[in-house]
């Protein structure tokens, strides 16, 4: 997914629940459930997956459920964003679903801090926000299997 020379990835399979701190040099795919801290080059949350906790990754693609604090360069969201969630990223993509179709993403009470700081004029109208996370690398989005 993030390393073209390797197709290795860490997978939390459906039915598996992981609690604790996970640090990986491989892309992480979650079909089951993770509760805790996660550091990895990238994270894919499948429609059956859920990640609750503090996550620092280069890239997130979530079609499942996320909750907690998420720092990334690139974020693609669908699925569900639960209450009390903060997403900080350089870039966020949420595709707009069709008028009659199912919601692409359901947001609970959450905070989105995306892109560079607002302009000075905008800052006047609102107290300063913490800066967006620094980008270390930007890689193209890839599939859930890491290919």
């Amino acid at each position: 997914m993030t390393d073209p020379t390797s197709d290795r990835k860490t997978t939390v399979e459906e039915g598996t629940q992981f609690k604790g701190s996970l640090s990986s040099k491989c892309p992480v795919e979650v079909k089951g459930r993770i509760e805790g801290d996660l550091t990895a080059p990238s994270l894919f949350v499948s429609p059956t997956g859920a990640v609750h906790g503090r996550v620092k990754v280069g890239e997130i693609r979530s079609q499942g459920e996320i909750a907690g604090e998420f720092d990334a360069n690139i974020v693609q969201l669908s699925g569900t964003v639960k209450d009390n969630t903060i997403v900080r990223a350089k870039s966020l993509e949420v595709k707009l679903s069709s008028q009659d179709g199912k919601m692409q993403v359901v947001f609970g009470e959450c905070s989105l801090e995306i892109g560079a700081d607002p302009t000075q004029a905008e800052a006047v109208a609102r107290p300063p926000e913490p800066p967006a996370p620094k980008a270390t690398s930007v890689r193209p989005p890839v599939g859930p299997n890491g290919a």
Binding site: I74, V81, D83, S91, L92, E93, V94, K95, L96, S97, Q99, M103, Q104, V105, V106, F107, G108, E109, C110, S111, L112, E113, I114, G115, A116, P118, T119, A121, E122, A125, R126, E129
Partner: protein, 400 residues
């Protein structure tokens, strides 16, 4: 006691001597012939100059506090920077006089004739100008707050940027008057004649307009009263930027515009509204009916926008909504900038999209059926998404 007696003053003036910088407090020179006399920098506080003939007299920087000048002839007199606080100038003739930067606070100018007089930057707060004639007078930047100008004649007067807040202009005549950027907050303009007056970017918050005549008034950028307006008499208003008369507002649009409830600047089909580049709207409240399509390329500051069912609101790339609030079950697309003032900046929208290059700072309160979101890579967000709150949506999306 004055430094000079009235006889000495009259003798000096008779032989052509100047009376300058003299202490003449309380001097009685009523009905005296003093045309062209110079009283520059004199202290004439409390002096009695009733009915005196003072045409072309020089009172520059003189002090005339509480002086009695009723019925005096001061035509073309120079009273620049004179202190006339509390002076009685009732019925005085001041046609063409220079009163620039003069202090006339609390002065009595009832029935005085100030036609063509220069009063730029003059202080006239709480002055009594009932029935005064100020036709063609220059009052730009003058302080006229809380003045009583009932039935005053101000036709063709220049009141650009004047402060008329709380002034009483009941039945005053202001035809073709220049009132650009004038402060008319809380002013009483009932039955005033404002035919053809230039009210561009004037502020009318809390002003009363019942029975006022406004046909042909230029109103682009005007800040409305904030209250429903009724009883105004106007065939049309001109909403063009350059007061060219090319953008006429008629019918109910007149009342809506003056109240600030809706500012109409539309092109194209009736259900489409377009706010073009260069326009600035401040403190306005706009309501758009169900199904309307609205595009904003302008700067909106501190405006509230109520959207009907399925109303489409597009903030174009050049559009900036600063300190604004959008309410109601519409669809919002932001290509430009949106910054809230009061949280939530957007409440009840069924759809919110921020495209690449667009930015949004504020909270989005979702309706019961949730908001459909779309965010393109490259957008800038400082957004808090909040759940549905029942009490806010009991009034079908209307602002609190």
């Amino acid at each position: 006691m004055p430094e000079l007696t009235a006889d000495v003053v009259l003798k000096k003036l008779k032989i052509g001597e100047k009376v300058e910088r003299a202490d003449l407090r309380g001097l009685v020179l009523s009905r005296a012939l003093l045309e062209g006399a110079s009283f520059r920098r004199c202290d004439l506080d409390g002096a009695n100059l009733e009915g005196a003939r003072l045409a072309r007299a020089l009172f520059k920087n003189a002090s005339l506090r509480e002086a009695f000048l009723a019925g005096a002839d001061l035509r073309e007199a120079n009273l620049e920077s004179a202190d006339l606080e509390g002076a009685n100038l009732q019925g005085a003739k001041l046609n063409g006089a220079n009163l620039s930067r003069a202090n006339l606070e609390g002065a009595n100018l009832q029935g005085a004739d100030l036609s063509g007089a220069r009063l730029t930057h003059a202080q006239l707060e709480s002055a009594m100008l009932g029935g005064a004639r100020l036709v063609g007078a220059q009052l730009a930047h003058a302080g006229l707050s809380e003045t009583d100008m009932t039935t005053a004649k101000l036709d063709d007067a220049d009141l650009t940027s004047a402060d008329l807040s709380g002034a009483t202009l009941e039945e005053a005549s202001l035809a073709r008057a220049q009132l650009r950027e004038a402060q008319l907050d809380g002013a009483i303009l009932t039955r005033a004649d404002l035919t053809g007056a230039d009210l561009r970017r004037a502020k009318l918050e809390g002003a009363r307009l019942e029975g006022a005549i406004l046909t042909g008034a230029h109103v682009h950028g005007l800040v409305g009263t904030g209250e429903p307006v009724s009883g105004v008499r106007a065939d049309y208003l001109d909403d063009s930027i350059d007061a060219s008369g090319t953008s006429k507002v008629t019918g109910d649009g007149i009342f809506a515009l003056l109240s600030g409830k809706v500012i109409v600047s539309s092109v194209g089909p009736a259900n489409k509204r377009f706010f073009g580049r260069g326009d600035i709207l401040r403190n306005a409240h706009l309501e758009f009916d169900a199904g309307a399509s609205v595009e904003i390329e302008s700067l909106f500051e501190h405006c509230t926008i109520a959207l009907g069912e399925a109303t489409e609101l597009v903030v174009g790339k050049g559009g900036v909504l600063s300190g604004c609030q959008i309410m109601g079950p519409g669809r919002v697309t932001i290509h430009g900038k949106f910054v809230e003032q009061e949280s939530p900046g957007i409440a009840g929208a069924t759809q919110v999209v921020v495209t690449a290059g667009g930015s949004m700072v504020g909270a989005v309160e979702q309706p019961a059926g949730l908001t459909r979101f779309g965010f393109e890579p490259g957008c800038v967000l400082r957004v808090k998404i909040q759940p549905f709150k029942t009490e806010r949506h009991t009034n079908s999306g209307r602002p609190r």
